[in-house]
């Protein structure tokens, strides 16, 4: 409580140097790839392991004090919080298709449910959010709508990251049409395309006085 108060006070006077940036979104939209890309660009180190098997990230992964430099020479320090993917269902049978044993699949499913709960809990602790969506898929999912509604209710600034623009089916325009009230940046976290635009957007929309 006291910590929150001091952060609020620091924010008001523009002294807050470090921003806790939560990377949220559906499962397998490329959250860890994005966290890795940001961290690699500015620290040379990765944040977490990437896998095609859903729910690879099952605990919050952190990379602290990532300093990014904007075009106007302003510096921002971020604590990157790569969140487990949000989901309304987790079926252990899904993991069997990827060659996991029944026991491994059940363990993964149990850990994944705990990961979702942890990610929701962390909404109270983030200063800003990158809401990641797969630009090649339908963005009108209940997870995306519920997430954005929660951020709005909590007054947490957000940028929608339309990821995977390297894919043929990617349609950033559709995401912009579905969520016209939010800033949307199309990137490929995998190739690094448009990451410069994302950094400028972070400076513009997520940082007080940015």
């Amino acid at each position: 409580m006291l910590n929150k108060f001091f952060n609020w006070l620091k924010g008001i006077f523009g002294f807050k140097k470090t921003i806790s940036l939560g990377i949220y979104g559906d499962v397998n939209v490329g959250k860890t790839t994005l966290a890795n890309r940001i961290s690699l660009d500015w620290t040379g180190e990765t944040v977490g392991k990437v896998s095609e098997i859903p729910h690879e990230t099952r605990t919050v992964q952190k990379k602290e004090r990532v300093e990014i430099k904007l075009k106007n020479n302003k510096k921002i320090v971020l604590n990157i919080l790569d969140m487990p993917g949000l989901a309304t269902k987790i079926d252990y049978r899904t993991f069997l298709k990827y060659g996991l044993s029944r026991a491994e699949a059940k363990k993964r499913a149990r850990e994944a449910t705990e990961g979702v709960i942890e990610a929701i809990k962390w909404l109270k602790n983030v200063d800003a959010v990158l809401a990641v969506m797969d630009a090649s898929k339908d963005p009108l999912t209940q997870v995306n709508i519920t997430l954005l509604g929660n951020l709005e209710a909590r007054k947490i600034p957000v940028i929608i990251v339309a990821n995977k623009i390297d894919l043929k089916k990617a349609n950033v325009k559709r995401i912009k049409e579905c969520f016209p009230q939010y800033p949307v940046v199309g990137v490929s976290a995998l190739t690094g395309r448009n990451m410069d635009l994302l950094y400028e957007a972070i400076g513009k929309y997520l940082v007080k006085g940015g």
Binding site: D91, K106, I145, A153
Partner: protein
């Protein structure tokens, strides 16, 4: 060979039934229906925070036989005086929460429609900003 009849059960529940319950009982009511295999439809929507609580509680109850839920809500944004009054009501609930440190016991549902069903039965939900279609099967 005897063909087994496959059935889907829909429960249409008035928003008033849910509004009479506090948040915990509301979520319990929804999840017990859904865990029993019903697809629940109601003429209202929960707030985004309540929906997040529903997701969190669902995750706590996931097991081998219950992989979770599919949910789709369409909110009708109130306009004019009604919208203004709703904003005031939302703000007063937030103020109440600041002073008491607790979520208000009972909350009115917003105008709209919500469908919640077992993920095992609902194969796909396709939505547009003002409608949705559901593909369900056993």
């Amino acid at each position: 060979m005897i063909k087994k009849k496959l059935k889907l059960k829909f429960d249409f529940v008035s928003s008033e039934v849910l509004e009479k319950k506090d948040l915990k009982s509301r979520i319990n009511f929804i999840l017990s229906k859904v865990k029993d295999g019903s697809i629940l439809v109601t003429d209202g929507t929960m707030s985004p925070e309540e929906e997040m609580d529903l997701i969190r509680e669902t995750m706590r109850r996931v097991d081998d036989g219950f992989p979770g839920i599919e949910v789709c809500s369409l909110r009708k944004e109130p306009k004019g005086l009604r919208g203004f009054l709703e904003k005031i009501s939302d703000q007063s609930l937030k103020i109440q929460k600041i002073f008491t440190g607790k979520e208000p016991e009972k909350r009115k549902l917003k105008d709209g429609i919500t469908l919640i069903g077992p993920a095992k039965l609902i194969k796909k939900i396709k939505r547009s900003p003002d409608s949705f279609s559901v593909l369900a099967g056993i």
